[in-house]
Point group: D2
Chain length 282, copies 4
């Protein structure tokens, strides 16, 4: 598995180049980013230059966010599709092979109808991405408070997301598995071992406070190793499932970090070393 980073929890980066340099300096091999950043990266460095920059820093861009609002009006969805095709092309050019989006656990729309609409929309996104060799990873979101944040319940656990993926029915759609969401849905590591490698598009890690599970907030996460989640067990389970991709840190917090980024990255580097070792990963 590759050690990866998202910028969440690390504060703002001047540009993707800075992010890549820092990720590289602290021993990471991969980053997640957004499609806009990839576009700017290619505009400033050229396609060849961007690829070279990544190579020189031994960093892969392993995932970008889905630049399409699929949860609101049909008009907005339609208007966003051109962005997706452009993003897919840029991602293809820098070797990024995954695109991810999260599923909010509740919705102001009618639950069943919204599932039908979302199925069609994400299918379209997957179909476009497939032409650029990019997979779409769907992230279920576990924290309990979000299940009632909007009027009607939607979906939030592994099995529901697998059913959603089957409804979409495209071969390049799979899971983005996030340790926080597994923890907040009481998903056992054993359940993860039963997945097949091709069902997993991407993985996020982070940690949870030692409070009752149903009180955990989505944007109140800890850095890996600082909380109560058995992250080694989590990675061991994913390894058993055959997963060989990247594991990116994503620490959503209510406020920006106050520590300097170098300190945060050093901390993360150490945590990754410990967790990977304990999980039997090199």
């Amino acid at each position: 598995m590759l050690k990866g980073l998202t910028s969440a929890g690390l504060g703002e980066f001047k540009d993707i180049n800075s992010f890549i340099k820092l990720a590289s300096r602290y021993g990471f091999q991969a980053i997640d980013t957004d499609s806009e950043a990839i576009k700017c990266f290619i505009e400033s460095e050229g396609t060849a230059g961007a690829k070279l920059f990544l190579q020189e820093h031994h960093i892969e861009i392993v995932a970008m966010n889905l630049p399409v609002e699929w949860r609101e009006s049909e008009e907005q969805f339609r208007n966003d599709l051109p962005k997706l095709v452009e993003a897919a092309k840029s991602a293809f050019d820098v070797g990024c092979k995954a695109c991810t989006t999260y599923i909010l656990p509740s919705t102001d729309y009618h639950s069943a109808q919204f599932m039908a609409v979302a199925t069609r929309r994400l299918r379209t996104c997957a179909q476009i991405l497939h032409n650029y060799g990019i997979r779409l990873g769907l992230e279920f979101v576990g924290p309990h408070h979000l299940r009632t944040a909007w009027k009607n319940p939607f979906i939030w656990d592994l099995q529901q997301t697998l059913d959603f993926i089957e409804a979409i029915g495209e071969k390049n759609v799979g899971l983005l598995i996030d340790a926080y969401h597994c923890y907040t849905t009481n998903l056992s590591n054993e359940s993860l071992t039963k997945l097949s490698a091709d069902q997993i598009v991407h993985v996020h890690i982070n940690d949870a406070k030692d409070i009752p599970v149903h009180e955990l907030l989505d944007n109140d996460r800890l850095f890996p190793g600082e909380g109560v989640i058995d992250l080694s067990g989590f990675l061991r389970a994913l390894k058993a499932a055959g997963y060989k991709g990247a594991v990116s840190q994503e620490v959503l917090t209510a406020t920006a970090p106050t520590e300097p980024i170098e300190g945060l990255l050093e901390k993360s580097q150490k945590a990754y070393t410990t967790i990977f070792k304990k999980a039997g990963l090199e």
Copy 2:
């Protein structure tokens, strides 16, 4: 449009042959039936004999029910699929080109997850039927009491069903439009005119008591012309949409009819003549 009959409201028939004979005698051109009856029909008459019998009586079998339970366990669904393939083959052999199923407005399953599961299952059914040139018609069910008959709301109106059809995503899936369900969901005839002909797989007519719409029960329907639904307007709207298929009477009632069937059919025949004439249909 063809004048059609289901057996609902008419009582039991000894066999499909009797049904065909009576439908023919009272001026109907089409019947709906179930897949089991088609199977028995072919077993008793042979394929050529069955087709000849239909021809001699100027009757087409225009629709059969979907012989698959797609609303319960995965095991039951899996076990029912062989029946579907057999039924599709038999339907093909007697020229039946539509298969229909109704959607219950509520469910004991989680609404959004059940929509995902139902999308996949009905897609499979549609894919199998497509190989036999058979379309799948989905019937939304309007009566209000059924929206809370099970734990969670599912779907019950036109737009929701169109979204469901898009989620399924197969070209041979469309609507079964039933006058009672249009009436109980306050669907205007103008909305029907905006459909395109290929979105409509089949049509049912019947009538509603003169009580508040939200009090109408699903199995308390009247014969066409005996209630308050503007059936001529309904057919005129479907004609404007380009629909040219069959319109079958379906009168669900709580108890079996007490009148002799000949009387019921004579009544239906007259009602059809009146309604078709008023709708400008020959």
Copy 3:
């Protein structure tokens, strides 16, 4: 059916506005155009202005060409997809609901493999268009000389194209039926009557010289009524199939016309009147 025009055979137009004005002046109700022209139209008039201009001239844009090269390298295909999404959005904005592409009857690629590749690529195009309510019409190309113009035979007749459409498997894909290609593949009008309306996305008419069918060249067509094709029978057959869309004149010729455009349009207007009348169309 709507009387439509493509610019083929009429010479160059300054801009789409001129084309619309002339089409309107000579009694036409629809035009085909290319996606680039729609884009310029919207850029110069604004979306609202463009729609108003069309309304004022009682003209609909009924078809645009597919702005994607799906017959060559994967790279070119990938690079063209962003253009398709932009074109689809523009077409949606001016109410254009069909996109068309022609199939060359031979290919330098391996025949069977190219069919597999083309199936996937056109499926992607159809999927994108579907989100904008646009159908994709595939035009088979009949002239015999093109069957050996490249190394290996591909497809050129109705049944092959229907099989191609089934392989693509998307609900919004159908036929562009061109009178010249029907004539050069000896397709009977009776065969056309057996199509269903939803299989036909668009129709082209033109005429053929009185020489042996296998000698007819693709770019040596005549104006409707000047040759040997029974165009009234052709339209009658399409009417019998339920087709209600536009019929656009497309006269491919080796050299630009020398007559002034007004004369050509007057000629076409008269021919359309005659042919439509004889076909029983108003």
Copy 4:
């Protein structure tokens, strides 16, 4: 990887029970069989009995043939589909998760059109199998003489088959990779390493005579280790691609073997041990 057997090259077995017993006795862990044999197995042993028999002999049924003729008439295809659903259900009941079919390199049909038809038909098969958790493996067939055995060329190499799989477009379709076909299409082991594990449904091994590649006949194969194919390199390449499934021996020969089966199996067992060891597989 599991050591597997097909019956090809071993002669006739009285029943699947005998095959399972012998496979087990000679150190194999898996067998391929046909759907008819699975059906008889379940009829004679019951589902629970069949599963127990397999468990007691430490044998998995890893693949069955596709019981559908997809290369001939539409009628035959339609008539075979019920068999497929029954076979899928039986396979599901005994834990068999792959179904395989081979692609003949030439056809009496029009090449491109046949590809379109085959794409639709195999898509239907895949869709049915998917509901039972079964994958469909397509086997390209390399021997040169078969490329001209029928009128028109079809497909015979890896890339063509991958394009076919993409045209089919279902997530549960992948490759059956056979060492003989890789050898006769000059496919390098390096090319195999570039596949991803989920593209490979099943693997066959066998060996080739030391004659020019283009002279090798399809039904003139040797037992593993007796010919010139680098089978260890082949398996090492598949391992590098992440393949973890079964590798079944398939020795097609013109005439039935004359040696007693015990001798043949002992020979195969030894060959497997040598090849697996050399490939770094336990």
